[in-house]
């Protein structure tokens, strides 16, 4: 599979995620779109790891494994981040009884 197919697919998913972040007002949906962006990147990393294996794999059995290790760690971090983020959103909901991002405009002051 030519690598640029994977590149374009991953880019498309990423930009759909960006569109989601910019378009939605619900904090949790925005969070989910961030997860979507992360996953697009994961896909691309795995594709590149396979590309490296294809290019270098003849002499080196572990060529390109770094990409997949990286994806592993991204997933680790994503999990931790989701838990903390949702906790914050729940706190926000408890204070304002809404998940509307526009209510969090204290940065204005």
């Amino acid at each position: 599979m030519p690598i640029n197919y994977y590149i374009f697919l991953s880019l498309a998913l990423f930009c759909i995620g960006v569109a989601g972040v910019l378009t939605r007002r619900n904090a949790i949906i925005i969070f989910m779109c961030v997860e979507l962006m992360l996953n697009a990147v994961n896909l691309l990393l795995v594709a590149f790891s396979k590309m490296h294996q294809h290019a270098l794999g003849a002499g080196n059995p572990n060529a390109g494994i770094d990409g997949q290790i990286f994806v592993f760690f991204i997933m680790v971090v994503a999990a931790a981040e989701v838990s903390v983020g949702l906790a914050i959103i729940v706190m926000m909901y408890r204070n304002t009884h809404s998940t509307d991002v526009n209510f969090l405009n204290r940065l204005k002051h």
Binding site: L22, R25, V101, N102, K108, H109
Partner: protein
Amino acid sequence: MIQLVWLVPVLPLAGFLINGLFRNSLSKGMTGVVGCGVLLASFILSLLIFGEVRQESFQPVTVTLFDFISVDKLHIPFAFQVDQLSILFLLIITGVGFLIHLYSTAYMHEEEAPHFARYFAYLNLFVFSMLLLVLGANYVILFIGWEGVGLCSYLLIGYWFKNVDYTNAAKKAFIMNRIGDLGFLIAIFWMINQFGSVNFEEVFNAAPGTSTAALTGITLLLFVGATGKSAQIPLYTWLPGAMAGPTPVSALIHAATMVTAGIYMIARSNILYSLAPFTQHVVAIIGLATALLAATIALKQNDIKKVLAYSTVSQLGYMFLGLGVGAYTGAVFHVMTHAFFKALLFLGAGSVIHAMGGEQDIRKMGGLRKHISTTHWTFLIGCIAIAGIPPFSGFFSKDEILAGAFAKSPVYYAVGVFTALLTAFYMFRLYATTFLGKFRGTHDQEHHLHESPAAMTIPLIVLALLAAGAGFLGVPEVFAKNAHWLGHFLEPVFAQGAAAGHAAEGATSHEGLLMVISVVVAAIGVLYAGFRFSSKPDLAEPTGFGKVLANKWYVDELYNAIFVRPLYAISKFLNNFIERFIDWIVNGVGRLVQYGGRQLRLLQSGQVGGYVLLMVVGILALFLVELFVKK
């Protein structure tokens, strides 16, 4: 002793500094001593230098103090030139100046100590500037003094600065002076361009080889400066207004010294003027016209100082007439005698005002001769001198000018004699109305009448003696051969001018006849005015032609309409349109910044979504720049 000539102006400068800086701590006595003392010292020093100059073998000396301006090929040193002309003026200025300083200590004694000191500081500064003017060895130093006396005139006219009319008069004087100074400055620039130098020696040596057109231009411009400083047509209207200052100021500045600066300058540049006959005609005509005009106005004035002011303008016109017809010695002689009798008249008028408790209107005076006799006799001597009755000084000097005028053109002479008649007439009108007849003032004023203190009467007596006797310094050829001491003394200064131009030499036989005519005319004026006004003073309001004269031929109103109103209109126009426009632009920039700030503030909405959008847009921009713009 000549090398110490720089002390002569520096001493009054020191007096100015002492009186000016310490005016809050000096007593009035000390101020008077300092102010008069420096003048006396300068006068004595001038006498000693005069002794050296008088010797037969004397050559003009230039005492250079330091290099003032040195640019490329132009060198203007701060140098003093000691020759016969400058030493003569030096004596007049320091001598008459000292007498007036002495007079002022009594006249101004009602002022408070700081203001008293301020007065003397200004007077000393004035003397310093005037000495700089006459001692300068080049036109630039002359101009420095020229400006300085203009400044001091302004300061002294507006001495009682709390009165708006006085300060307006001071402003008028200064501004009219400055208009003349512009002409003077352009002349200096032209001189630098033409001769490459402004030193008297170099300019006068190079003059014969220069084109007449250039010389005419330069001399005309110099004369414009002189009309401003010496109150000739068209820049004379400031002088009557300058009577707002204290009377000693009027005596010193506007009679004896400052107004003669123009005469000095033209006398010094006599070679330039002799080589430019057109300018000489202009000078003579303007001088004559001014003399006539001022004399007519003086006929109908009722303020004692105003009469004397117009008389000064008229006599200055005579001096310019003398310069214009080439009678340089006569003009300088008249400067000297005029300094004596006009200062005498002004100080006498000050004494009268002092006696009348501040009253200046002659219609309210009369019969004062019984009350203030010293003032009366000295004033009478001054009047006779100015009228040109022999053997007093005015006769000799005025006659020399008229003789020169006759040599140029009989018309000049005729108008000059007519003006002499008017001079005698109005002066004796003034005398008779003030001193003869019955007292017309209030009862309180009559009780107040008393003779002035010694500090005021002594200068009057000294000046009266000088006014009476100074004429014998310039006895013309008609009476005695080689008796014209002044002419002989000033001969080296005017030699170049006399050689280059056409020396005004009236035929000796005619001169006797001319003298007789002028004496008779003057006597007629004196007697008629004396008898008419002593018995029937001119108290009624003027009508018809008299009204025109009393209103000074409406010249002030004319200037107001031609110059002042259009300037105001232009100023208002510029203010309304251009000033507001510029203000609008400047304020607009401020408003723009405020508006921009307000709009930019909206970015700080606090909305996270907005921030993320901006982030994405920023990343987009960075990518575009990095990938596609930077190839």
